[in-house]
Amino acid sequence: MAQLTMIQAITNALDLELARDERVLLFGEDVGQSGGVFRATDGLQKKHGVHRVFDTPLAESGIAGLATGLAVQGFRPIAEIQFFGFVFEAMDEIAGQAARMRYRSGGRYSCPIVYRAPFGGGVKTPELHADSLEGILAQTPGIKVVVPSNPYDAKGLLISAIRDDDPVFFLEHMKLYRSFRQEVPDEAYTVPIGQAKVVREGKDVTLVTYGAMVHTAEKAAEEWAKTRGIQTEIIDLRTIRPIDIETIVNSVKKTHRAVVLQEAQRTAGVAAEVVAQINEQAIYYLEAPVLRIAPPDTVYPFAMIEDEWLPTPKRVLSGLEKVFSL
């Protein structure tokens, strides 16, 4: 056991899987000699060799296409997109190609690819670095989308993603990279993809969220319990495609109220899908409509106003307040 930051847990997972399976390859812009712009791949090229961990030309579609071409020949590529905002360049290769490979070939070819990309607000990045575009991928049949919120889950989910026989998009929130440490086992372990986690138990309201918003939710819930004595149950989705609806529905049946919190704009992300699923499966248990807490539908904000745009614990509290006043 060691106290690791999320980025150390990620490096550790990559290291273990590179050592375990020689079909695993790691590549992207600056991931080799330099060890990645966030040091996520630090030391891996030196340890595993330039044929396993290597730099690419600066072209996201080329990177993703390289992954497709390697995957159909039996490799297990981990392709890094330097910042998630650059995913548009590679959308055809991800959504139009790899995600469809098993289906369009009737199982003859498959794409066991992991795409890793940092994203997320709160660190004053320049344009198109922090955008939460996960909703676009979550709407793509054939791909799984994972968003860890802590070091333990990041390691276990990344190992699961690498071992998955189909494409997985693995999103790493930049603000969580080094914001706290957590006990992480030294050996390889897996956290199942498609399984949410109740990170705080409560009986009064269910708060469904993922990524950095898990921590915002925890702050709000703490405050709420202290000031009002209301117990919030927080569910960290961890995987946003497919969504673990069972865990959510079980919670809603207990609390009778639900709110979905996301960092993506109101009509982006996956909050609407969570609301729809609750409506379909648990409407008779609800005391109030399921509300969404999310930033407005603008382009991702300029750095200087980012902190006002992103949901704060205070905004979460007023969202929670609403489901009790309706």
């Binding site: 044929h51 072209a59 080329g62 020949q73 290769e93 098993r102 289906y103 199982g107 026989d165 497919p242």
Partner: protein, 354 residues
């Protein structure tokens, strides 16, 4: 003169002239009489099958189809220079190469109709589904070629794109990555001079498409795409070069499609003159190569007739096999989405199970 040296703009690499005379003996590929006859066999077969496919499409017995008449030398001459273990990334028009590389014809017909089994290539057939997104096959070919290089396999990845496709970002990215990693790949640009209705002059001001290789730092070569021996010769050198670890090449075959872009409503008379079509009819790859073979007593009318019959029978047999193939089901499609179905799809599958 090396076939892989960058060519001067607007010069064709040619072995045969339009009468079938050898004009460039130094480029004459080293092929046995039997191999020469096989090339002709495949070209005649493909011409007949193309004519049948066009009719079958009109009858509603085939679905999506992109005619290939005119491009036989470009398609067959290039594929013939590869080995069975080499891996092909075809575009939507490159059905003949895929079939000659091992794709069963009935599966090509199922692909045309829109049946999943069409893309279920048998084990050992090194082909992937024809690519609809123009350019995607280029970056993927580079990835597969890198796989061969990393495994130190003596295999080559090869792919095709049209003249219009050279304007795509993925075209450039793919050839550029291939150059940077020096992978065993061959990229064939089949310049049939029109991308649907848009002439190549509207794609680029570059004098040749082969010269686009310069931007990736790889050899580019332009060949007469109506001359099967020139195409074979260029492709063979590029394939050999790739197999020897010397990196990728780009080959531009200058060719022409006699038919429409696809059978989905395109009308070439809206954008091509009769004169231009007649000019290219005179360059017909079959006429030229037939003359060449007949002069060497390697091809007779009886050979031609035998291949025509063989092609018609093969098409009928493939159609019958495609007709008899089991229908798709929604649960079957759901099952093919992932190796292990996630809970959401399992629930959706249950709705279709009854």
């Amino acid at each position: 003169m090396s076939a892989v040296a960058p060519t001067k703009p607007s010069t064709y690499l040619q072995v045969l002239d339009i009468e079938g005379n050898v004009v460039n003996p130094s480029l004459m590929p080293n092929l046995t009489d039997e191999q020469l006859r096989t090339l002709m066999h495949k070209m005649v077969f493909t011409r007949i099958w193309d004519q049948r496919a066009i009719k079958l499409t009109r009858q509603g017995r085939l679905g999506f189809y992109a005619p290939v008449g005119g491009q036989e030398a470009s398609m067959i001459g290039s594929e013939a220079a590869t080995e069975k273990e080499d891996f092909l990334f075809p575009s939507y028009r490159d059905i003949p190469q895929a079939v000659w590389h091992g794709w069963p014809l009935y599966q090509a017909f199922l692909y045309s109709r829109g049946h999943q089994h069409g893309g279920q290539f048998p084990e050992g057939v090194n082909v992937i589904m024809p690519q609809i997104i123009i350019g995607a096959q280029i970056v993927q070919t580079t990835g597969t070629a890198l796989a061969f290089k990393l495994r130190q396999e003596k295999r080559v990845a090869f792919t095709y794109i049209g003249d219009g496709g050279t304007s795509q970002g993925d075209f450039y990215e793919g050839i550029n990555f291939a150059g940077a990693y020096r992978v065993p790949a061959v990229f064939v640009v089949q310049n049939n001079q029109f991308a649907i209705s848009v002439p190549v002059a509207l794609q680029t001001a570059a004098e040749t498409l082969a010269n686009k290789a310069v931007a990736a730092g790889i050899p580019g070569i332009q060949v007469d795409g109506m001359d099967v021996l020139a195409v074979y010769s260029a492709m063979k050198q590029a394939v050999d070069r790739a197999r020897a670890g010397e990196g990728p090449s780009l080959i531009e075959t200058v060719t022409f499609r006699y038919g429409p872009h696809t059978m989905s409503g395109d009308d070439p008379t809206r954008y091509r003159t009769k004169e231009l079509e007649q000019e290219w009819q005179q360059k017909d790859p079959l006429v030229r190569f037939r003359n060449f073979l007949q002069r060497k007593n390697l091809w007779a009318q009886a050979d031609e007739e035998r291949v025509i019959e063989e092609a018609k029978t093969a098409v009928n047999d493939a159609l019958a096999k495609a007709d008899a193939y089991q229908k798709m089901t929604i649960p079957g499609l759901i099952d093919s989405m992932f190796k292990t179905l996630p809970a959401d799809l399992l629930a959706q599958r249950a709705e279709f199970d009854s």
